[in-house]
């Protein structure tokens, strides 16, 4: 009785190749998607920008400026 090697292995490899093809990334993002992502990024960023300059930074520069003046005298 001869032992038969299953041919499954080949099939599996073929299946893997097909999967790989299916998972290939789309070449390019649509302009509309890019625009919407950009919009979200800017709104998030501008949310912080619109908070202006917190007091601690004005205070910091004032303090440094005063220290500087004292040193100069």
């Amino acid at each position: 009785m001869s032992e038969r090697k299953p041919v499954e292995q080949e099939n599996t490899m073929e299946a893997a190749a097909t999967r790989k093809k299916a998972n290939a990334k789309p070449a390019k993002l649509g302009r509309d998607v890019q625009a919407r992502l950009g919009q979200q990024l800017r709104s998030m960023y501008d949310d912080v920008v619109n908070q202006g300059v917190p007091d601690r930074f004005n205070d910091l520069l004032n303090r440094l400026d005063n220290d500087g003046n004292k040193d100069g005298q």
Binding site: P26, L29, Q34, L41, D47, V48, Q51, P54
Partner: protein, 181 residues
């Protein structure tokens, strides 16, 4: 030496955008503000190396970015998986970074590699040109371009958007409201 008034104005003028950049780098408002403060102290200590007439904002961004990088490297030795840690810190403080509406976007942004995240923010939100962003990051213009492209593609994947409709009804409603203004 008293601070030159124009220097002072330029520095304060850059602070809002520096904060936004810092927050998007480290994902935490308090740490971001410390980062901005350390940046200003460094900048003023080295103000002689600033060339008048050049872009103050780009100069400050460069200092902040380099400072963040060296801090980040130090922390990385202490904490494994810093990007994962960053994503976690975002989840625990959703209200700190603007409104809840950006949550999904923020979480996707947090999952980007740092190189891609900073390139995308500099070009896509801070309004720097590819050339300026390349100077700030100390790399070639082509590198910035490819980082920005990869960042966009990855963001779309993470947010599962293939077309503008995938942004959901809220987004559509908001866009309609905004266009009606």
């Amino acid at each position: 030496m008293a601070m030159d008034e124009s220097v002072r104005k330029a520095i304060l003028g850059a602070v809002p955008s520096l904060r936004a950049f810092a927050i998007s780098l480290c994902g935490n408002v308090d740490r971001a503000d410390d980062l901005v403060q350390e940046t200003l102290l460094r900048a003023l200590a080295n103000i002689d190396s600033f060339q008048p007439g050049t872009n103050m904002s780009a100069w400050l961004f460069t200092i902040l970015r380099n400072h963040f990088r060296s801090e980040y490297r130090k922390r990385r030795r202490e904490v494994e998986d810093t990007d994962g840690h960053y994503a976690e810190s975002l989840k625990s403080q959703p209200e700190q970074y603007g409104q809840v509406e950006f949550r999904e976007f923020r979480e996707a942004l947090a999952q980007l590699p740092q190189d891609q995240r900073e390139a995308l923010i500099l070009v896509g939100a801070s309004g720097f040109s590819y050339e300026e962003a390349a100077n700030i990051c100390g790399c070639a213009v082509g590198t910035i371009k490819s980082r920005v492209n990869r960042a966009r593609t990855r963001l779309a994947e993470l947010m599962h958007v293939n077309s503008a409709e995938d942004f959901g009804p809220d987004e559509t409603v908001r866009a309609v409201l905004a266009s009606g203004e």
